[in-house]
């Protein structure tokens, strides 16, 4: 299966090229409140991916035609820095970033209590500084932390995670080679406390069993990342208060 039969993605010992097990995630680091000018901000490093997110608002929505009388609109701008990949990316909006901005906004709208701020706008700027497959998931994770840091009411902290299939094996958290030469990719936005899914895309084919395994891996990974997100949000205040809280 797959169009790249000559690319070996699994080693003889069953591990992946970078030495991870099939259900092992890349290393994740989260920091909250890194940008002084923004109302809320976050920095997420997921493997070699680096995303910075800034949140502004809620503010008056302009132009007025985008206002919604019963809720706030979330204006997401996902952007990859020109230097984020090995090929230089032409700066500015393109078809891919437009799509990711749209799906990210829709995922965030289902967790943010948008009905609290009718007619207003919440601006979410996601900047990908380094990319190594799975940037939309990293962007969602960063946006969730930044929104919480900005004090915007939410039902849960949404986590972006992905699983996929390489050489007929389901694996968690694809890296660049696995994403490019693998058979399928299943990014999800998960609400870790309830297990709800707010965002799901699938690239490639998966059987029902493979899908269920992906789902299981994603949920497990989402809970792990969620702990790091909570820690990043709390750490700032516990630490700043000199341990006294």
């Amino acid at each position: 299966m797959g169009g790249y039969g000559d690319v070996k993605l699994l080693r003889e010992d069953g591990l992946r090229l970078d030495g991870r097990k099939v259900d092992e995630m890349r290393e994740v680091k989260v920091e909250a409140g890194i940008l002084p000018a923004a109302d809320g901000s976050a920095w997420v490093k997921h493997g070699l991916n680096v995303a910075v997110c800034a949140v502004y608002g809620p503010m008056e929505a302009h132009p007025r035609k985008i206002q919604r009388q019963d809720r706030a609109v979330i204006d997401v701008r996902y952007n990859m820095a020109p230097f984020s990949t090995s090929d230089r990316i032409r700066p500015g909006f393109n078809r891919r970033s437009r799509e990711i901005s749209k799906v990210t906004a829709e995922a965030l709208e289902s967790v943010v209590l948008v009905e609290r701020y009718p007619r207003s706008k919440i601006r979410v700027e996601i900047e990908i500084l380094a990319a190594e497959a799975g940037t939309r998931c990293v962007g969602i994770t960063a946006a969730a932390v930044a929104l919480a840091d900005a004090g915007i009411p939410m039902r849960d902290l949404i986590v972006g995670v992905a699983s996929g299939k390489i050489e007929d094996t389901v694996v968690l958290d694809l890296d660049k080679a696995e994403d490019n030469y693998g058979q399928a990719d299943l990014p999800m936005g998960i609400l870790p406390t309830t297990g709800e899914i707010a965002f799901l895309q699938m690239d490639g084919d998966l059987s029902v069993e493979e899908y269920n395994t992906c789902m299981e891996y994603n949920l497990k990974a989402a809970r792990e990342i969620h702990e790091l997100m909570v820690d990043a949000l709390k750490r700032r205040y516990i630490e700043k208060n000199g341990g006294e809280a």
Binding site: A148, G151, L157
Partner: protein, 228 residues
């Protein structure tokens, strides 16, 4: 972040985190009932009082309420009204009839232009979050001199102190006129020395306002100035 909370009572929560069972308690601000649990919707400290569970947020946007004293920045001017940014999700509207001047139709710009700063009161907020401001009232005016600075919403009580005691002390020590708007904006006017002192105080509020050591650091700054 009121000073009343101590030690073990303090519990920091993040959005989605279950605070406790929802039976027998009411959900206050910053919380939501989800199934059998009360969950937090903001990052903040849990506050349980009189059967109401709420979360005191660490950071939150200003939500205008009628009667609030606010410092606004004029954002746009029409023939007969001004729109002011009041640091909230919605702009405030100041109609000509509620301005302190006799304004001819079309001459609004001559009294206040874009970027000018005003001291106003929130006249009313309707269910669609339209905010009407008024400048008719004692002391409400255009602020022409001094400096304006912003602090976090939940640090306002820290700057004011109990019954405005801290604010009175600061006014006396700095020899400045100080106005703390309900929307987190602070206006200071006085001689340059006094303003410089207030700048350090506001920096302290911004950086250390949430710390337990805030009051001690503020006392130290005030004493230093008194003895200088």
């Amino acid at each position: 972040m009121s000073g009343a909370k101590k030690g073990a009572e303090l519990r920091l929560v993040t959005p989605g985190e279950a605070i406790g069972a929802s039976s027998g308690v009411r959900a206050g601000t910053g919380t939501l009932i989800m199934g059998d649990n009360i969950i937090a919707t903001k990052v903040g400290w849990v506050n349980q009082n009189n059967g109401v569970t709420s979360v005191d947020p660490i950071h939150s946007a200003y939500m205008p309420r009628s009667g609030d004293l606010v410092i606004g920045i004029v954002e746009s001017v029409r023939n007969n009204l001004w729109f002011a940014d009041v640091n909230g999700p919605f702009n405030g509207l100041l109609p000509m009839s509620l301005a302190p001047w006799k304004v001819e139709f079309g001459a609004a710009r001559q009294h206040m232009d874009i970027g000018d700063i005003m001291l106003a009161r929130v006249q009313e907020v309707d269910e669609a979050h339209n905010i009407v401001l008024t400048m008719k009232g004692v002391g409400l005016r255009r602020l022409k001199e001094g400096i304006m600075s912003e602090i976090s919403m939940n640090h306002i009580s820290r700057l004011r102190g109990e019954g405005d005691s801290t604010l009175r002390e600061l006014k006396e020590v700095s020899d400045c006129r100080i106005i703390v708007g309900e929307n987190g904006r602070v206006w200071v006017d006085g001689d340059s020395d006094g303003i410089a002192f207030m700048r350090t105080v506001l920096d302290l509020v911004r950086n250390d306002g949430h710390k337990a050591t805030f009051n001690a650091s503020l006392e130290a700054i005030i004493d230093e100035r008194r003895n200088a």
